[in-house]
């Protein structure tokens, strides 16, 4: 067992898989000699060589485009996009090719690609370094979207993502990279993709979140517990495909649901979960579903980023709203 923070766990998962599967290659800007601007790939080039850990020229389109070619030929590329704010030039390849290659060729070719990219606000980073674009990717057929919220889940989910035969967009909240450490076995054990994780049991309300917002969500659950309100906390972890079974099972018991996410509200992934609850859980609901999200604004520069990020108070207030008249 080792005490690891989230970025160290990401590093260990890549190292483990490179060690055990020679088809895994890592590519991206500054991932080699520098070990990545967040150090997620530190030591990998020394250990596995510059042919498997590739410092690419500066071009996101070509990083993902070439990774698709590699993947179709049986390599398992783990491509790093330095910040998710710079992933958009690669959207063409992700949308038009990564998610469709298997389908277009009726299974003849496939795309076992992982795109790792830091996301989210809260570290006083410059412009374009704080976005949460998960909903854009969750909209795409044929790709998976994963966001870890702890070092151990990051480790297990990244291993699962690399082993998965289809493309996975793996978004890593920068705010969590060094926030806390956790015992991680580093034993090559993957966690299941496509399932939600229940982090806290409760009977009064279900709080559904993912990524860095679980920080505020769990703090809210703690504050609510002081008031005698027992909140269940679910980490969605894999947004696509979405495990509604776990969420519905919980909401059936609690009758109330608050969805918390860092991305903007309109078209955010919370809307998808709320729609599923309306379709499949309406008769279990004792109160309207609430969403606590960022406002529909451009992520502000650092001075206002904590006014943009949903706060514990906003989550508690939303829970109170579901309990009005109860």
């Amino acid at each position: 067992m080792a005490e690891l923070n989230l970025v160290e766990a990401i590093n260990r998962a890549q190292a483990w898989e490179m060690d055990h599967d020679p088809s895994v290659v890592v590519l991206g800007e500054d991932v080699g000699v520098n070990g990545g601007v967040f150090r997620a790939t530190v030591g990998l080039q020394e250990r596995f060589g510059p042919e498997r850990v590739i410092d690419t020229p500066l071009a996101e389109t070509a990083i993902i485009g070439t990774a698709i070619g590699m993947a179709a030929m049986g390599l398992k590329p783990v491509a790093e996009i330095q910040f998710s704010g710079f992933i958009y030039p690669a959207m063409d390849h992700i949308w038009n090719h990564a998610g469709r290659l298997r389908n277009r060729t009726r299974g003849r070719l496939s795309c076992p690609l992982v795109v790792r990219s830091p996301c989210g606000a809260g570290i006083h980073a410059p412009e374009h370094h704080s976005e949460s674009p998960e909903a854009l990717f969750a909209h795409l057929p044929g790709v998976r979207v994963v966001i870890p919220s702890s070092p151990s889940r990051a480790y297990g989910l990244l291993l699962a993502a690399i082993r998965n035969p289809d493309p996975v967009i793996f978004l890593e909240p920068t705010r969590l990279y060094r926030l806390f450490k956790q015992e991680v076995a580093d034993d090559g054990e993957a966690l299941p993709l496509d399932v939600c994780f229940t982090l806290r049991a409760g009977s009064d309300v279900t709080l559904v979140s993912w990524g860095a917002m679980l920080n505020e969500t769990q703090a809210a659950a703690e504050a609510l517990a002081q008031e005698g309100i027992m909140a269940e906390v679910i980490d969605v972890a894999t947004l696509k495909p979405l495990d509604m079974t776990t969420i519905l099972e919980s909401v059936t018991r609690t009758g109330r649901c608050v969805i918390v996410h860092e991305a903007m509200r309109t078209g955010g992934f919370g809307a998808e979960i709320a729609a599923n609850l309306a379709e499949h859980g309406l008769y279990s609901l004792l109160a309207p579903v609430q969403r606590v999200t960022a406002w529909d604004v451009v992520v502000p520069l650092s001075r206002l980023e904590y006014q943009y990020l949903p706060s514990v108070e906003r989550i508690v207030a939303a829970v109170m709203k579901t309990l009005e008249g109860a």
């Binding site: 000699v33 410092d55 500066l58 389109t61 410059p126 505020e216 520069l301 206002l304």
Partner: protein
């Protein structure tokens, strides 16, 4: 077989590292009165950079990208532009922005995490700094097209890094500008590094200037640490563009003497001894040596200038620190020309949480 295309790329330098003229200087450089403002601007940028890094270290601004060692590029180009021209800068171009009239206070405000820092009092039509690599070259080509369409005698100029030349945006924009014969100047700040990736891993071509050839654009190379060479090349390119001669690409060769940004530690990937050697080529000492040699500069002038720069930077910092923080409402300001009615509820909620101290707790 016949050769159907052939190309050459010219390199220009007027002052060597010691500030000795290696060839006859261009006419503007014969008058020290034209050179001293360039020297002054370089010193001011360097004083600003030193202070900005110190402010970052004490948490007064966020991540900052210094122009250390590359001052001659921004200043040589911006000083060749006219007021009515438009600069489309990247994130390392404050040297040029200051010449254009952007204030150091505005720059600090931007790097300090406040959008008001991009609302320059002057120049009103220059673009804000572009952080996503390479995008600005496309915008600059569009700006140039607008000038051409309206038959305005104006030129668009933009900068990009050596790393940025690997992006499609750069090639695509050059090609557009060439097809449109648009009044555009594209300047590569070849500081030899894209964070940890050295220039020779970025592309195997011997020059970056030759990237212009494929688009049918003139590409030239200059010593980017020789402000006379930069200014001269920029002035020619801008004159050509204004006269309807279309775009030019200038590769200015320099060296990034500092870390990529304050978030970077360059000792992880490059030899400090090599960096030390590169100090011998830096642009400020070079021009000072030249000015001293022709009797236009001395120790007393130098000391006076250093003090002036320090005072000016200190005043800018004071002004920056005195600016009250933005309110939560600022997130909604200028999002659209007018805030849509549908957003009123969010706006009110943001205000309510901000004023009830409820936006502050984050687990």
């Amino acid at each position: 077989m016949t050769t159907v295309a052939r190309f050459e790329v010219e390199f220009t330098r007027f002052l060597n590292a010691e500030g000795e003229a290696t060839q006859e200087l261009p006419p503007f450089a014969l008058d020290p009165a034209n050179l001293i403002p360039l020297y002054r601007a370089m010193q001011l940028t360097r004083a600003f950079d030193t202070k900005a890094i110190a402010l970052q270290r004490t948490g007064k601004i966020g991540t900052f990208a210094s122009a250390l060692g590359q001052e001659a590029i921004g200043i040589g180009v911006a000083s060749a532009m006219r007021k009515e021209d438009v600069l489309v800068p990247s994130y390392r171009d404050h040297a040029a922005q200051f010449v254009r009239g952007v204030t150091m206070t505005e720059s600090l405000l931007y790097w300090g995490g406040d959008e008001r820092g991009s609302n320059f009092a002057v120049p009103r039509e220059d673009f804000p700094s572009c952080v996503p690599i390479g995008n600005q070259v496309c915008h600059a080509a569009g700006v140039a097209y607008a000038f051409k369409l309206r038959k305005e005698a104006r030129v668009a100029a933009c900068f990009l890094g050596d790393g940025a030349t690997s992006k499609g945006d750069f090639y695509e924009a050059l090609n557009f500008a060439a097809v449109w014969r648009a009044p555009l100047l594209v300047v590569i700040n070849n500081n030899q590094w894209a964070i940890s990736v050295p220039r020779e891993h970025q592309t195997i071509t011997p020059t970056l200037a030759q990237k212009a050839i494929a688009a049918g654009v003139e590409g030239v190379q200059v010593d980017g640490n020789d402000v006379i060479a930069v200014h001269d090349a920029a002035r020619r390119a801008i004159d050509k563009a204004r006269a309807g001669g279309g775009p030019t690409l200038i590769e200015a060769i320099s060296y990034r003497l500092g870390d990529h940004t304050t978030a970077d530690d360059a000792t992880r990937y490059r030899d400090p001894d090599v960096v030390q050697q590169q100090w011998a080529n830096e642009p400020i000492r070079r021009l000072r040596n030249h000015l001293a040699r022709i009797g236009a500069w001395d120790q007393e002038k130098e000391e006076r200038l250093q003090k002036e720069c320090a005072d000016q930077v200190a005043a800018a910092v004071d002004a920056y620190l005195a600016i009250p923080p933005p309110t939560a409402a600022a997130m909604f300001d200028h999002l659209y020309a007018e805030l849509p009615t549908a957003m009123k509820e969010q706006f009110d909620a943001a205000q309510w949480f901000a004023s009830h101290d409820g936006g502050s707790s984050h687990g």
